[in-house]
């Protein structure tokens, strides 16, 4: 093992056999100790290194590093797993280890255990440098080779680009130059990128050109952390594992669908990123359209990536914009006000925001899906900052009963039946239906029936990032959007953004309210109202 030029042949040969098999199924077939009936054994990733760019960022500290620890604590990290940090800091391994340790202590979901930390600590390395510095990347390549030798990671690297998109080109170029992007036979190289995937169709395309110049599409993992959430995956279980909902999941019974992501916070320290991007690009293009796809798609032939993505693409392709964008979209900008008992400033007074910024912090759009299942059923998507409270949900609102054999007075306050998938914070499902009010008269009123994920299963419910990081290491892509989905989503959003660009200042709404009056007017024109959240 003295030859620094390469890992010992045996380690490579051994890892080769694993790395070639990218899915757990194939590995399982070759492994005498695995059996599909043996459900206690978890999916564990093969030996690999995760290289994290942007280790000092908020995401790394709050989500990624704790998620890696939590995976370790659940016994899901492979023996020899190594974590390499890369950043512009004059740091040693122990400094990065300390950062990781602190992040884990503060933010990990599972309790801190010394032995788990010891296992992870052994694999922690740090490479200092600028993204433009060739020497730093050469050092990274050397370090990775060394790790392969010392830890038997077999040349399997996942590069996590937790950096602003403007750095993508240079990092990807460096990975290409140093040969790190190219997997030798029998090992794998994967790259993980975070939203935003561009700011319109053209830039998304350019970004993709850059990434695909170094990595094949199958090695690119685009993280939309919403798809890692248990409730979002549960949408598929709810729809396709049950016989109760699918028969009514269509235009004959559904009146409309509301998909909401409301935040109570402002832009915080993200002024530089947020201004010029706005709510629609930040949230609707990715999270909300992905939710729409999952709710509206046909049943996939299997849960393999290709089948699932095909169905999502089909439904995204069928999305139609309303002809009159002025009447069927709304945008707003939060003004000063009171949010949850605190006095907060308006968007234009936020630090780093131009007084004349036309960036929207609230966006609502009405979309239709032109297929047999959904024709004529509007999908209302809305998102905003500084709204009343933080909530993300998908509400399928059903039509009223075709005939009510009650007197009009009895059902005066009876609303629509609704099935609500609550994505966050209080994960679960609510069914709203009419029920008789106890007493002599036949008075019918709305009641809710709740299934709470958050309360009951919280303890074991893994964070979205745990699931997604594990999937990256295993090489399991169904929960990651394909480039085609990204581009289709931009195709939906681009005309709206172009229209908005001609409309001047967004309508202000007081912080802590539920958005601008235009959004309510948009619903009122259709004879509907937003759900009060």
């Amino acid at each position: 093992m003295s030859d620094p030029a390469g890992p010992p042949e045996e380690a490579v040969a051994v890892a080769a056999a694993v790395a070639g098999t990218s899915t757990t199924l194939e590995v399982a077939a070759a492994n005498p100790l695995r059996d599909p009936r043996d459900k206690r054994l978890p999916r564990v990733a093969g030996p690999c290194v995760m290289v994290l760019f942007g280790v000092t960022g908020d995401l790394a500290k709050r989500k990624l590093l704790p998620a890696i620890y939590d995976l370790g604590n659940r016994g899901l990290l492979p023996p020899g797993f190594s974590l390499v940090g890369f950043a512009r800091r004059d740091w040693q391994d122990q400094d990065f280890a300390k950062l990781t340790h602190d992040a884990v202590k503060t933010h990990a979901r599972t309790p801190f255990r010394e032995e788990v930390w010891k296992q992870i600590r052994e694999g922690i390395h740090f490479v200092p440098g600028e993204f433009s510095d060739d020497g730093a990347f050469d050092a990274l390549a050397m370090a990775l080779k060394e790790i392969d030798e010392l830890r038997g990671t077999g040349g399997n690297y996942a590069f996590y680009l937790s950096v602003p998109p403007k750095f993508f080109p240079v990092v990807v170029e460096q990975l290409k130059r140093t040969g790190l992007a190219e997997a030798p036979d029998g090992s794998w190289r994967r790259v993980v990128i975070e939203k935003p995937f561009g700011h319109d169709l053209r830039s998304a395309h350019e970004l993709n050109e850059i990434t695909t110049s170094a990595f094949p599409e199958s090695s690119i993992f685009r993280i939309d952390h919403y798809l890692g959430k248990e409730t979002v995956q549960n949408i598929m279980a709810l729809r396709f594992a049950n016989n109760l909902y699918e028969p009514i999941w269509n235009r004959s019974f559904v009146d409309h669908v509301q998909i909401t992501m409301a935040e109570d916070i402002g832009i915080g320290g993200r002024a530089g990123y947020y201004d010029g991007i706005g709510a629609a690009r930040d949230v609707i293009q990715n999270h909300l359209l992905q939710l729409l796809a999952l709710v509206a798609m046909e049943d996939p032939t299997s849960f393999e990536a290709s089948s699932l993505r095909r169905e999502k693409e089909k439904v995204l392709k069928a999305v139609r914009l309303p002809a009159d964008l002025a009447a069927n979209t709304a945008r707003g900008q939060y003004a000063a006000g009171w949010q949850g008992g605190e006095k907060v400033v308006g968007y234009l007074e936020e630090e780093g925001i131009s007084k004349r910024s036309t960036t929207e912090t609230y966006a609502a759009v009405k979309l239709e899906i032109a297929n047999r299942r959904w024709a004529g059923v509007p999908f209302y998507l809305r998102t905003g900052k500084r709204l009343g409270r933080r909530v993300t949900e998908v509400a399928v609102v059903f039509q009223k009963a075709p005939h009510l054999p009650f007197s009009a007075d009895d059902t005066e306050i009876l609303g629509h039946n609704a099935l609500v998938v609550r994505v966050q914070p209080d994960e679960g499902i609510t069914v709203r239906f009419g029920s008789k009010v106890p007493g002599t008269a036949m008075e019918v009123r709305d009641v809710s029936m709740d299934f709470a994920y958050g309360e009951s299963f919280l303890e074991s419910s893994p964070e979205a990032y745990e699931r997604l990081l594990l999937d990256v290491m295993i090489g399991d892509p169904p929960l990651f959007p394909h480039q085609r989905e990204v581009e289709l989503s931009w195709k939906i959003l681009d005309p709206i953004e172009e229209f908005w660009a001609t409309q001047g200042q967004p309508e202000p709404y007081p912080s802590g309210s539920w958005g601008p009056p235009a959004a309510d007017a948009m619903m009122a024109r259709d004879g509907r109202v937003w759900r009060r959240l």
Partner: protein
């Protein structure tokens, strides 16, 4: 936590009281997913109930604790109802006296949640044929714990003879991290395994179970050797290229060694009872792999 005592009572009164308590607390019918029947003795009650309550945080359940008291007293049923604000679900501790101890099922059966799975758990002494036991018959899943028997290995062997689908033993759940690590090691091909040894503290029932699983899967002879413990300490497998081993001496951190590769440390901590129980409750279908392993164990003994 609301506690309510009912002395000299019946299942019907308990049921009515539970409904009333829930109404008083304004708690709606929370989504309880199963009924867990814990059959134990007074001295196991506290620890078992604590583990069950913790597991209920992951699997909201109605927990029925059945404690058989003096058989020569007059027939009597005492119940202690607990509905917690901190944990979902509800707990009923049942104490049975007199002839009633022979008919615990008559109390338990009306208190089971309708149309949801029932799990029976004997934390210490367990029937030889759990599926034929009057409580066991009510359950889809029957959990025993050989570790707490006087002779753990013997009790596994006895129970293997009366094995029915749905039986499992917590000494099997204790093996999951070991099996998971070994399976991960085998994700890289190791070639043929000629034999091996499982080392553990003397009398540990998990050790022969692990050995019999390994020999079942690998088609090789596996021995069990005594070590100083605690618990399982090592698995050594002889392969074509040399020895593949997992060694754990401090009950927390293990070292994985394989031919031609550097040694690696892996966290492999012993787990708390509540974690074992939570794992059992996660999958309520038959554990065929356990069935095969325990039957092989019984054949070899």
């Amino acid at each position: 936590m609301t506690t309510f005592m009912l002395a000299d009572t019946t299942a019907g009164k308990i049921s009515a009281q539970l409904t009333q308590l829930r109404h008083q607390m304004g708690a709606p019918a929370i989504g309880m997913v199963l009924t867990l029947v814990v059959v134990c003795e007074e001295r196991d009650q506290y620890d078992s109930l604590r583990a069950a309550t913790e597991a209920a945080r992951e699997h909201p359940s109605r927990i029925l604790v059945v404690i058989n008291r003096e058989t020569d007293e007059a027939n009597r049923l005492d119940a202690e109802l607990r509905i917690g604000e901190s944990a979902p679900g509800e707990t009923v501790v049942l104490r049975l006296y007199g002839e009633l101890t022979e008919h615990a099922d008559s109390v338990v059966s009306p208190l089971l949640l309708p149309d949801t799975p029932v799990v029976a758990w004997w934390p210490s002494r367990a029937p030889d044929v759990p599926s034929a036991d009057s409580i066991g018959v009510l359950a889809q899943r029957r959990l025993t714990d050989a570790k707490n028997a006087d002779d753990g290995v013997a009790s596994l062997v006895t129970r293997a003879k009366g094995y029915a689908p749905g039986d499992t033993d917590l000494s099997w759940a204790r093996l999951t991290p070991w099996r998971s690590l070994l399976a991960a090691a085998f994700d890289q091909p190791v070639g043929r395994v000629h034999g091996g040894v499982v080392e553990a503290s003397a009398g540990n029932p998990s050790a022969p179970l692990l050995a019999s699983w390994l020999s079942e899967r690998l088609g090789a002879e596996m021995d069990v050797a005594d070590s100083g413990g605690p618990g399982l300490t090592a698995v050594r497998l002889a392969t074509d290229e040399g020895e593949l081993s997992v060694v754990r001496t401090d009950a927390r951190l293990a070292t994985l060694s394989r031919p031609g590769q550097p040694d690696r440390n892996v966290a492999l901590a012993r787990r708390h009872l509540s974690e074992l129980l939570a794992e059992e409750l996660r999958r309520l279908d038959t554990d065929e792999i356990y069935g095969a392993a325990v039957k092989r164990l019984a054949r070899l003994r």
